[in-house]
């Protein structure tokens, strides 16, 4: 048996399932030698084997069942699953990573004031965790689909018969869709600024003004009593806001559920702010002294502060927040309830020409 021919046959047969190998080997051997003369030259062997073609392609012809990692029939579903799951996994892991980074940094552990170290720790672990989470998600989803396909081909069962009941609803009109990227950006902002806020108020990061003005050094903007009192409020507000974002991510279009959530979240936020700002004396006395010494009594807002009118400031803040909330709710109502052109309608109008 010629070495080249043997090697060719081996290269074809090794790609086939074990049970097929010896049969195909015998057949191929007989067929090839039938195509060769009794004392074939290397050139002749080359030409005959070329006629048979690439071993991998020939093996594919011999294969009884086509093999795919993800079968064409389910590939669309596979891609959709990835599109749905990956943003969520990436996001969650990012946030978890931020948290882990914070608590692992020397900043928190040793109370050193190395901002650079804190932020690098936060974002390193955030990106690291997000990336590894994404890879894991891809791997598990792919494995899941591959296993499902393998089980299906084993059974030889066809898919369940399709009926018109299985048809999905028409996609919502463009303006009804809630953009995924916007929602995710919102989540990242909420988490980031809440974390920042907490750290500032807890004095982990020294506040804005480490400034000496007129012999008064301000180390903190808010009194520490207020900072402690405010902590749960901040956390609840952030949690509620995140809940709204999660619902938006899951539902992905403006519906009554989403609208109700937006309304309640805004109402809760305003109420929280109102209750929070009922706290007497939230600005530190140093801060007030500085403002008074600036002699800016001309400007109303600062004037109120200077007169110690923290109540008035609170009222102004709550009013501002209420206006923002009302506007937000109105916009949400518009997005949810305005009967604009749906997908169906836009098709019909096009054919009405």
């Amino acid at each position: 048996m010629n070495n080249t021919v043997e090697r060719y046959i081996y290269d074809v047969v090794r790609r086939l399932p074990e049970s097929e190998r010896s049969d195909v080997e015998s057949e191929l051997k007989a067929n090839i030698y039938d195509m060769l003369s009794d004392e074939p030259t290397e050139a002749e062997i080359e030409s005959v084997l070329q006629k048979l073609g690439r071993p991998s392609v020939l093996a594919e012809e011999y294969r009884l069942h086509k093999r795919y990692l993800i079968a064409p029939a389910v590939f669309e579903t596979y891609l959709q699953t990835l599109k749905l799951v990956l943003p969520i996994v990436g996001l969650v892991m990012f946030i978890v990573g931020l948290g882990i980074g914070i608590f692992n940094s020397a900043f928190v552990l040793n109370q050193t004031h190395q901002y650079a170290e804190l932020f690098s720790s936060m974002f390193a672990s955030a990106f690291g965790l997000a990336l590894s989470g994404l890879f894991q998600a891809v791997v598990w989803i792919t494995i899941g689909f591959a296993v499902y396909d393998y089980a299906r081909s084993r059974d030889g069962k066809q898919q369940k018969p399709w009926t018109t009941q299985n048809l999905p609803e028409l996609p919502v009109a463009k303006q009804k869709r809630i953009s995924v990227s916007e929602t995710i950006a919102e989540i990242i902002m909420t988490v980031f600024f809440t974390a920042l806020l907490i750290m500032i108020w807890k004095g982990i990061i020294p506040a804005f003004f480490s400034v000496s003005m007129n012999n008064v050094t301000i180390t903190a903007l808010f009194t520490s009593g207020f900072a402690d009192y405010a902590m749960p409020f901040i956390i609840i507000a952030a949690a509620v806001s995140l809940l709204e974002c999660v619902i938006k991510l899951v539902v992905r279009s403006w519906s009554v559920v989403v609208f109700a959530t937006v309304c309640s979240v805004n109402v809760v936020s305003v109420v929280l702010l109102a209750v929070l700002l009922n706290y007497p004396n939230y600005f530190t006395s140093e801060f007030i002294q500085v403002i008074q010494s600036l002699e800016l009594g001309r400007f109303d807002f600062v004037g109120f502060l200077a007169d110690g009118g923290q109540q008035t400031v609170a009222v102004v803040m709550i009013a501002l927040m209420s206006i923002v909330s009302v506007v937000t709710i109105l916009v949400a109502a518009y997005r949810t309830f305005w009967k604009g052109h749906t997908f169906r309608e836009s098709i019909v109008t096009r054919f009405d020409d």
Binding site: A30, D34, K51
Partner: protein, 113 residues
Amino acid sequence: MSDQDLQQSYSTELRRGSLAIAVLGCLRESYYGYSLLQKLESVGLPIEANTLYPLLRRLETQGLLTSDWDTSQNRPRKYYLISEKGIRVYDNLCHEWERMQESLDLIRKENKE
């Protein structure tokens, strides 16, 4: 894709569809792989070796052919022959083939008018 490649691809598709019926038809008599290849070439239906051999294996797996290893020569050879089931399938295919021919001729006739 060039025009020639396009033409070739449809041509190949047409030929591929006819392979089974051609092979089954020939195998009323016993042939081994290479001799069948030559037979088909001689009737004007050249077929690639890497298409024919796997096809023969598949037809046998499906019970349309029977096979027999002839060990009398210096080298063993696998001879194929159409089976009972194969004959039934072949006859049905032939009827379908005739009906298809008529339909296609009808279309061609209409085109000429």
